[in-house]
Amino acid sequence: MSFSSQDRRADEKLGRILGRVASVRTRLNSLALQHAIFYTLAIAIAGGAVVFAGAYLLSPLAFLVGTSVLAIIGCAGIASAVGAGWRMRVSRVRAAAIADDRAELKGRLSTIVALANHQVRGSLWPYLVEDTLGYQDQFAAARIERRRVSRAIYPLAAAFVLAALAIPISKIKHPPQIAPGGGQTDMTVDLDDLDLRPADPGDESGMQVTADAATMRRLGDKLARLGAAGGEAGGNSLNQLVNRARDMAGHLQSKLTGRQTASKQRLNLRLADAGGDQDQNEIHRAPETQKNRRGDVAGQFEQDQPKSNHELDLPREDDLRQPSSGPSPGVDESGAEADSGKDNPGNRDNGATDRKIQQSGENGGGGGAAHGIGADPDTLFGAPAASKLGTEGFEIAIEARPVDHGAKGAGRAYVAPRVRAPLSLNQAPDEPVARAAVPADDRTTIRRVFER
């Protein structure tokens, strides 16, 4: 055998060893790549699912904050996953070292790979190659790394499951936030019960407010007072940024949830000046009823976060004059009771208030026989021949929407049922433990200690 043929055979053996090391490296790098891709996809999909669900479940401000935090966490997670994948990739020397460890080759492959390109290899080099080739079955790629698919596939699958669950979760957890009386756009509210505040800039929704001249003057005065008090806060650029961000979150939320913001209707809000003849009305108003009325109605308009898909679907003014044919979705049991008070003229103003409460769907159930449904706004403050609404008034766009607080869980507090579990037959009844008497000698010491 010639020397060159010996060299050729030695090179062939070396090539086989290096080829196996290369296949090990390819597999390890493939897993590293899969790790980065799968984790990135998993984070993106899971994040998208959470954002989607959050769009249904959260208010715009909470959605904005949650989405921002989620975006930061997601970006950090993706960067971490990519970095981990980058670190997991191996060089040829590293692949040989891993193969050495897993196949218990005691550094044979590492030595061959490290010295393969050396010009002077020593007299034991052929022995090393031959010796290592004898273990070639042990360092096949399939034995060094059995997995072809990275374990990161499990988080990805979990992300898909989460994404699949996001749709039903958003439907299950999201209660119907439809304001009662679909298609109704008119409502009446007492001026004193209004909680006025500047509307969000850019909020396309609004309300057409109508009232008699005196009421509108009072409303103007109230707005002027509020404007003087909150002028500085209203002009704050930070508030504008927050409002803008919240508005963006609202738009994103609307896009995700498919709400049609363009088809928003304007709400006709009719103001009733209860303050003008408040003294007279207060005589007829039971204190408890007034408390309920003010609290409920104020709460109705304090909520500035849009909660409903059909937030402007309110009863028309004409509909308000007619008794409801049946309880609307947001009407509770008190609505039915209010029907019984329809014929009681002394409770007409209360009936109007209750009507508003019915619209909000937040009646605490404090009605009863004194609450009548026959509230005609035209006759609340005098004869029907009084000046009609809108003749001398003006329009002010304010933010006032009928909302449903059900999503916040603020409707009814959970009352734990009273359960009295019977004692075990072998259990003795509870008896108070006799208090031990303090020894007389220690009393002085104990008293001194506790007096400190």
Partner: protein, 346 residues
């Protein structure tokens, strides 16, 4: 006498020869397998060994048996406090020639041999101990301005008695560093002690058969030493050995550079005064090469380095008083360093 193949030995030849020498030694030496392996490893890489053990554990017998098994020239020096350097290296004396003329002639000392046993080396003065330095490091002796070469293989084994410290002179660090390994001989266990009794108190003494012919012993041992040097060490293994050595150096040492300060262990910082020298790294790799050949490999692995780490590094580490008071010895430091470096802590 000998059927060991000469000329260009193979890996299998090395392992076979090594095992045969071991077997011959163990005809007289009961137990101490690790010590014998380290002793032979030092022989085949051209190093020297410091043997530490309590009296009666077979230090001198071990060295004698090695000389018999290798069939090499063997000398023994009993170091005492009044021993002079010339007693070791040799001196020039006036001799009368056949023609009656008198002239100075060099009389070689006991260092002129292949295997030298320095018994209880710490009983001699530092001046006498230093007389061995040149012989051990450079295989030559200079007397009266004339340098005399020593014939390879040259193998020095010095014994230390750790309990009789009265009137002794501990070896200086420079001399300790010249020993490749420090081998510790512990008391034999009960089984080994029983075998020692039965083999040494009977009418017949076990005979040791020489593995090599006297005429070719030196040549064959040199061939095996060259084979050890051919064992390949991947760069990763050299880095590993370097990290081990650097990890033995305390962080607060003024001789440690800033880069090396990144490699430290708390135990080292607390107990070590001076760490291993670069000779420690050389000893690690050379000892690992012998161990790899015994395992039938032509390359070294981490396991080989760790196998010889205690023998190669322990005597190169100077401990402080805190270690002495806490009962910490250098072997524990080395094992701690191995764990730290292997675990990627360092």
């Amino acid at each position: 006498m000998s059927d060991v193949q000469a000329e260009t030995p193979t890996v299998a030849d090395f392992a076979r020869t090594f095992r045969r020498i071991q077997a011959e030694i163990h005809k007289l030496i009961i137990g101490h397998e690790q010590a014998v392996e380290e002793l032979l490893s030092a022989l085949f890489v051209g190093g020297h060994v410091l043997i530490e053990g309590v009296p009666g554990t077979g230090k001198t017998t071990l060295v004698k048996t090695l000389g018999l098994a290798l069939n090499l020239s063997f000398n023994r020096i009993q170091f005492t406090v009044d021993l002079m350097p010339a007693d070791i290296t040799g001196t020039r004396v006036i001799l009368s020639g056949e023609d009656g003329r008198r002239e100075f002639s060099f009389q070689p000392g006991p260092v002129f041999c292949h295997i030298l046993l320095g018994d209880e080396i710490n009983r001699a003065t530092p001046k006498t101990q230093s007389a061995l330095l040149e012989a051990m490091a450079e295989l030559q002796v200079t007397v009266s301005g004339t340098t005399y070469r020593l014939k390879p293989p040259y193998f020095v084994m010095a014994t230390l008695n750790p309990i009789e410290m009265e009137g002794t002179y501990p070896l200086p660090e420079a001399q300790l560093d010249r020993f490749l390994f420090k081998v510790r001989l512990n008391y034999p266990d009960e089984g080994e002690l029983t075998r020692i009794i039965s083999s040494t108190t009977g009418p017949e003494e076990a005979g040791v058969e020489a593995v090599f012919h006297a005429s070719e012993a030196a040549e064959r041992i040199e061939a095996l030493k060259r084979l050890v040097r051919e064992v390949m060490a991947a760069p990763a293994m050299e880095i590993y050995a370097a990290r081990l050595v650097r990890a033995t150096q305390p962080q607060n040492s003024r001789f440690v550079t800033g880069e090396a300060r990144a490699v430290h262990d708390e135990m080292v910082d607390r107990y070590v005064m001076f760490g291993s020298s670069p000779r420690g790294a050389q000893a690690l790799i050379l000892g690992a090469k012998v161990h790899a050949l015994l395992d039938g490999r032509a390359n070294i692995a981490r396991e080989d380095i760790e196998h010889v780490a205690v023998a190669a590094l322990a005597h190169r580490i100077m401990l402080n008083y805190a270690a002495l008071s806490d009962g910490i010895d250098a072997a524990q430091i080395v094992e701690r360093v191995i764990k730290s470096v292997r675990g990627g802590k360092l």
